[in-house]
Structures are given as C-alpha cells and as structure tokens.
Amino acid sequence: MTSLAPEVVAAIDNLELIARLVVEGLRAGGHRSPFHGFSAEFQQHRPYRAGDDLKYLDWKVLARTDRLYSRQFRETTSMSVMLVLDASGSMNYPETGVSKFRYQQIIAAALAYLIVAQGDAVGLVTVQDGGLAYLPARGGRPHLRSLIARIDRLRTGGTWEPGRVVARAAERLKRRGMIIALSDFYDDEAGTLRELRRARRRGHDVAMLQVLSEEEMTFALGSTLELADLETSERRVIDPALVADDYRAQMHAFTARCRSDAAHEGIAYELFRTSNAPDRALRGFLIALGAQHQSGHAARMTLR
C-alpha cells in the first residue's frame, strides 16, 4: 500500500479518519502490534510447593491423578498508554503546510486508534491554556472518539513544562503502563529526561517521539531575516548563510543527544520528520518498539 503523504493526510479534516487511514496503512504492512498488555493467560503446571496459594491448585488434575499441581499464569491484562502531547508554541511550525503540531496530532490519534483496537486503554496528558489537560486511560470506541476529538481541539501556544507533565502522566497510570511523549523536546531538556527516567524506574514503558520539521532541521531560510521565537517571542536578525552550518551542527548534536540519552535509559526513541509519511514513520517506531519488547519479554513473566 502506498504511504500517505503528510500533505494529503493533513488535508483531511477528520482526525479519526486520518488515524484509521494511518493504522490501516500499518496493518497492510503485516506487522504485529508491539503493545503487550497483561492478562491471566494459563502458561503451565508445576508441582505444588508449600506456601502456594491454594486457589491456584488444579483440582481437576488432583482428582484424576492424586497429585498436587499448581497452575502458573502469564500476566496478560490490558495495558494503559498515556499520550503526552506538546502543545507549546514551538510546535506550530511551519506556519504553512503540515505543522509539527498537526503531525503530532496525527501520530497520537493513530497510536490511540491502534491501542484501542487491540483492547488496551489510552489516555492523554498535555498543557492547554496554561493548565494541565488530562483524559484518563480507557478503552473502547466511545472513549477513542472522545480522545481523538480532544486531541483535535488542542491548540498551540505559550510554553510548557514537559518534566511536570510527564511526572503527572506517570502518576495517573495506576499500574504499570506506557508513557509516549510526543514533542520537539526543546524545553527543559534535563528536566524532561529526569522525569522520563523516573517513570521508567517506576516500571512504565517510556517512548520519546521527537517531532521536527524539515526546515528547522536544514535551516534553509534564504536571505537575511528576523527570526521570532514562537514561544518566547524573542527576535533576532540573522543571516542564515552565516549561521546555518553552526545551527545544523547544534541541531544534529541535539537529536543525537536525545537518542543516546533515551537508549541509555531504556527509553524507546524515534525521530519524526514532518516531511515523512506518518504511517511509514509510525511503522518504523512500532518495529523498534516491538524489538525492544522482545528483548524484555522474560522479565514480564509473573506467577499467579
């Protein structure tokens, strides 16, 4: 199936429809969902040992064989995913075409659609108009529609404190879940990483989806111009030809640092360029996430 161009996807006003299109594009690729929840799925028998909970004793085996066996289960309960969205002013770029924020909305909606479709719960935490906007993680179609509508209504503006928002998302997950943070991660780089690390240590899976536009990656801005910071409104007259090389070097170092810090903390990381098709970009992320889960699968085994 042909990937959806960002411009085509952004031209569709219905975010739920976009999410479905993106997810269908993913499924056409034949990839398994990487989201592994928790359920009480029977795994095996083992000889009863003193102290085992009698409710796990397999009475039927005892009746047939006169032997005591305890039943062992694999935890397969549904997973809660909390989407952390960046609605700060810096996401409203570029002002024409597909902005980072719109791209982020599409990715978030597609993820929500994908998560709910496999029976898991998804919630939302972001900052809107200076206050925290929160939607608890739930499953089901009605909730999905409500969530996507909420995402669609979000507007960019001002600044945000990503560390605080991530911390709040981790607190709202009542049990081990997953936090997917979507942002350009310009703000409070150290604080953001600290809270993501804390969430990881609390047992949550954490993913950093860094959304950047092609223009801010390449800094191809033409002749002398005055740049206005979308968040702080600071203005600076620059000659792009003079600063482009230094800017690109710093930008490259920044993304490399985000990637390495994430890898160091066991955080999944993916860089999304707004020029790339969202389904293809999302597929890359999901493959990477699946690989990460395969490696950590044994640790999830629990005895019930």
Partner: protein, 445 residues
C-alpha cells in the same frame, strides 16, 4: 572645460551623505517565526544598523547623482571657446587691431604681428563682459567709432589698440574723442629684426641695385650692384608681332624709368605674367583659353592694376588699336569712352597657369608703357616703402597716453552653462537608483 561657479564643488562633500545613510539606516528584514532560537547563537545575530557597505553599486549610483548635481551647480562650460569664466570683469572693451602692411612682419616666434594681434584681441575681448573688435589699416580713424560704441555701454569703457605703432598710427589728439572715464590701453607689438630688403633703381643709365637695412634709430642703404640686370622684366612675357617689338621695348624702357624705385625681388617665377599685344599671333588662342581669375595672387594683381592711377590716366588719353572684349573678364584700364584698354584673365603660359593681360593699345604707346610699369608695381611682394618705416611712437608717449580705470567682477546670473546635461545625467541616475532599490527589495523578499 571651465567652471563658472567652482565654489559649488564644496557641495561635493555631500557624497558622504549616502554613505552615512547607508550605514546608519536600519534594515527592515522580513520576520519569520521559528520554533526556537536556542541553536541560533547571539553572536551570529546581524546588527540592524549596517556596519559595512552592502550594496556598492547602489551606493556608487547615489554618489553619482550627487556629483552630477554638484557639477551642474558649478556651471560647467564644456567648450573653451565660450570663455565666460570667472575672470570676466565688468568692462566694455573696444579693441582696435592695426592691419596695416607693417603688421605682416614676423615676430621673434615666427608668427606675424597681425596674427598675434588678432589672438590677443580675442583674449582681451573674452575677459570682459562686453567687447568689440575692429580691424583697420588706420587705427586713428576707428577711435571715434570706438568711443561712440563705448558710450552706449553701461559698464566702464576701455579702448585697446594693438599695433606696432609706427609713426602716424595714432596721436594724442585722436584719443581726445574718448570720454574721461574711458581706459586706454596701447599694446605695442615689436617685430623681429628686419633682414633688410633689396631695391632696384631704373634710370637713363641702366639699373642699379641696392639694399636697405632698417635699424632702431637709423636706416642704412648700400648699393650692391651698379649695373644689375632688370630682374622684373624676366617674369613678364611680352607677346607681340616682330614688327612691333622695337616699339614694345621702347615702351618697356619708358616703363622702367617710370618706376624708379622697386623694392624687393622680382615677382616669383611661380607667378608668370603675360602681356598680349593686339596683333600678337598667339592672341586668338589665348583669348579662347582665357577664363575667369581664380588664383588669389592673380586677383591681387588685377585689383592693383585697376587701382593704378597712372595706368588709368594713360588709358584715358590714348587711342585703342583693337576693341576686343571678353565677357566676364575684368578690364583694368578703360579708354575715355569706357572701352577696355586692357583686361585680365587666367590662362596658361607653357604648362603653368599665368595671368594674361590683353592690351587693346599699341605696344609702343604710352598706355603700354604705363601698363608695364603698373604690372611691375602690382606684382611686387614687399610692402610699401612707408610701411617699412622702422620709426615708431616712443614708448614713453604710449605710456603717457595710457589710462587705467578700475574694473569690477560681474555677476554670472545670465551666463550660459552646460549644466543642463549634468542635470539630465543626475535624473537618469536617480531613475537607475530607484530601479536598483526596487530590484534589491524584490530579491530580498
């Protein structure tokens, strides 16, 4: 090129203005939103005030506009001949140039006195606000006219006479016609030392040659050859019948006695003269080939012949042998009845152009002798003996006749100037500047 208002060039200092404006002006770059300036270093910020020249061609055009305007205000004159520069003074100057024959003598530099006088007159006329130049062989005759012209001028008047000031050129009484406030300037030109001149005296006892040397205070005469051959006759060919040749020679001898003093050498051989008697065998052919005079020297000789009083008087009293008349050919002597006694034409003698003098009188007549004598006088190349007078008006006298009046500079309000071309250039440059600015804005956008 001259500048009538050179002080206007002080305005050239205004070329600093576009440079200052260029450097002090704030740029208005387009504004573009950007997610974050954290990677755009402050050190890389471009100042809004320009520290360096960003658009040198535009700056040069602006400087060109100013320079063209300043140059136009300086009132340039591209052609020197106008000579209306700042040296003009408020004086009406009447310049009289002596053109008498003595002014044809050479100066030490090689040019004639007259040429130098004319150049000087032009220079003097160009220096003042009003000028009149008169050329005359008799400067004293022109003084009254000059005084009348000066009286019509509002400025202070000045009379300038440029001459070698031979005696008789001007006298104190001649200058009395000038108003009391009129300045008098007498410019005396001095010729190079005269090389002297030779002369011939023809008398009953033959030709005698001598040489005259004119000094500053004395004239020395030396006889060089007591019996020199008559050189003048060599250049005159007398065509007549063999039967009348004796009579012709007698007339020629008489003619030489009628011209006792002939200064200078004979007419150059490049100026051949042919006198054609009425019965000369070549006369019909020469008459057919005769045409109107076109050589200047022939015209000079013809003019002098027609003005020779002795020839005119002899022709009036003589009888004509033939009555040939050629249409369009000038008569130089006429009988009492008005018929041509002699007329001249341009023809060919041998293979060279010659002045043909067709005589209608007998070759042995008095008119024929007068014609030969007149031709000898008319064809000489040296000035008249009175024009060779070395004695001039003393310098003291000339200084005493000189009067000086103060002259004031005149305003240049009405002067012509070529500044309009520079204004046009400035306007063209302004248009170019506007085009370049718009283009720069388009590129920046």
């Amino acid at each position: 090129m001259t500048w009538q208002s050179p002080l206007a060039w002080i305005g050239a200092a205004t070329i600093a203005a576009p440079i200052l404006i260029h450097l002090l002006s704030r740029r208005a770059p387009r504004t573009q939103s950007f997610p974050s300036l954290r990677f755009v270093g402050r050190a890389a910020a471009v100042p809004l005030r320009l520290r360096t020249l960003q658009n040198v061609p535009l700056l040069l055009v602006r400087i060109g506009v100013l320079l063209a305007a300043v140059a136009a205000l300086a009132k340039p004159l591209f052609r020197e001949s106008r000579h209306t520069g700042p040296a003009r003074i408020g004086v009406a100057r009447a310049v009289i140039v002596d053109t008498s024959e003595s002014m044809h003598r050479l100066m030490p530099g090689g040019s004639s006195l007259l040429d130098s006088a004319r150049r000087l007159a032009a220079t003097l006329a160009g220096e003042v606000s009003g000028a009149s130049i008169a050329e005359t062989q008799s400067p004293f005759d022109q003084v009254a006219g000059a005084a009348a012209w000066l009286a019509t001028r509002p400025e202070p008047g000045a009379l300038v006479i440029i001459s070698d000031f031979q005696r008789g050129t001007i006298a104190r009484e001649d200058l009395a016609a000038l108003a009391a406030g009129t300045a008098i300037e007498l410019v005396q030109l001095t010729p190079a030392a005269s090389p002297g001149t030779t002369f011939l005296v023809a008398g009953d006892h033959g030709q005698h040659a001598g040489r005259v040397d004119f000094g500053a205070t004395e004239t020395r005469v030396r006889w060089t050859d007591a019996h020199a051959a008559p050189p003048a006759s060599d250049s005159i060919v007398y065509l007549t019948t063999s039967a009348e040749q004796a009579a012709a020679r007698a007339a020629e001898r008489a003619a030489r006695r009628a011209v006792p003093l002939v200064l200078g050498a004979a007419p150059p051989t490049a100026r051949p003269l042919v006198i054609v008697s009425p019965r000369a065998p070549e006369r019909p052919a020469l008459l057919r080939s005769a045409r109107r005079i076109s050589a200047p020297w022939m015209a000079d000789v013809a003019l002098r012949l027609s003005g020779d009083s002795l020839l005119a008087e002899a022709a009036r009293d003589d009888s004509l042998q033939v009555r040939d008349v050629a249409d369009g050919l000038p008569a130089v002597a006429r009988s009492q009845r008005g018929e041509p006694a002699a007329f001249v034409a341009q023809g060919v003698s041998g293979s060279t152009p010659a002045l043909l003098v067709f005589a209608n009188v007998h070759p042995g007549s008095l008119t024929s002798a007068a014609l030969v004598a007149a031709i000898m006088r008319a064809s000489r190349t040296e000035p008249r003996i009175e024009e060779l007078d070395p004695m001039t008006i003393p310098s003291d006298s000339l200084r005493a006749w000189t009067r000086v009046v103060s002259a004031t500079p005149v305003t240049q309000a009405g002067d012509e100037s070529d500044g309009r071309w520079l204004w046009i250039l400035a306007l063209a440059l302004l248009g170019t500047e506007e085009w370049m600015r718009r283009r720069a804005r388009r590129i920046a956008a």
